[in-house]
Symmetry: C2
Subunit: 223 residues, 2 copies
């Protein structure tokens, strides 16, 4: 299975790292257990990764143990690239069987120097990443918990590889969502309950929901 092909299937979000180019042979595949660490907060940034299947969280730990989830990583997402030589976040897998391809940073840099199509691809990924981070900043800027949760659901719905009939999966726990939105778990739970009781969303089970009234949901997150 080729990386480029695979990436093109999912992931409207981050474009595939490369077309059927030399890249495919450069990556090392690996599968992880739930909770397993891909790299730590202070590790050297010597590799790039692309998440192929499953889900992961990119998180930063503060000195007193609070955890901030900076990003959720979904199939097709490329991550691990930095300006500096060290990571500033750790990455942990959420679902068991999460699969990654790992690329050597040096090889990537060589390839970017020699192959300008590849270089452009990486550039586009980086720009797309910046755009997403800006949206994230705006989401975190919302003061009301309900707005954040609504925005989060919309984001998940747009990123999700659509399952049957608008059903969106939430691979992460409520605790993960809380640390992503920087609010308490209880507040996440309460907000979801509110949205459900107002017929804005419907749950199949705790980890699968459908948007019933998109207009109302967008009105909640108010942009």
């Amino acid at each position: 299975m080729q990386l480029a092909t695979l990436s093109a299937q999912h992931a409207p979000r981050t474009p595939p790292i490369a077309r059927p180019s030399p890249v495919d042979s450069l990556g090392t595949w690996r599968s992880y257990e739930a909770g397993e660490t891909v790299y730590g907060q202070e590790d050297g940034a010597d590799y790039w990764y692309q998440l192929v299947d499953g889900a992961a969280r990119k998180c930063a730990l503060t000195s007193e143990g609070r955890r901030q989830i900076v990003d959720f990583l979904m199939p097709g997402d490329l991550f691990g690239f930095h300006a500096g030589s060290r990571h500033d976040c750790s990455v942990e897998c959420i679902t068991s069987g999460t699969t990654m391809v790992r690329f050597q940073r040096q090889q990537m840099e060589l390839l970017m120097e020699s192959d300008r199509h590849f270089a452009r691809r990486v550039r586009e990924i980086a720009f797309a990443s910046i755009d997403r981070m800006q949206l994230r900043t705006i989401l975190l800027g919302r003061s009301r918990a309900l707005e954040r949760v609504s925005g989060f659901l919309i984001e998940m719905a747009s990123r999700a590889q659509l399952e049957t009939e608008g059903l969106v999966g939430l691979p992460m726990s409520r605790y993960d969502i809380a640390d992503y939105l920087a609010i308490a778990v209880e507040t996440v739970s309460r907000s979801l309950t509110t949205l459900r009781s107002e017929q804005v969303i419907a749950f199949l089970d705790t980890r699968h929901f459908r948007i019933v009234n998109r207009r109302a949901l967008e009105a909640q997150c108010c942009n």
Copy 2:
């Protein structure tokens, strides 16, 4: 005055866009009044900009008039590049006499294709930008107002072109700071008062401060 030279003087933050290369001749210089708009939220992303002197804010407006400041732009900062064809934020100048150089996106893209040193430069800028946005996300993840304000002051101190003896200028108003940190103006003011009365910082006037007790400030923002 050459762009590269100028950029190298300030701005540890975003590296200069190019060495004394063809780029210098590609840019168009322009100066703005305070409050003047560089581009609007839905404008086409047809140009890149580098802020040469002054300060600006990149902001997003929500439907009910709330404003979220996504980033403050300082001398040396490059902005306006996107994956898509439209901006998602507007940029407004803060200080009168703010000066920008504007580059045509198409020309930049051509240049990146033909000049791989330039391409690498842009890549580094993009990666650095991502790193900064991640730090920003972590800052916005802080729950306490005092933590956010402390983190903001540290960020400003590290970005500031150092004036005499550790004096840091705040070109933006308290309202701007509030919208950047997503808290109320009154809270910003109160937090600053607290920090000042605890001898953590000292103000020369409302727009200039010095860090008196860096250790305490870092303890406040707790990371």
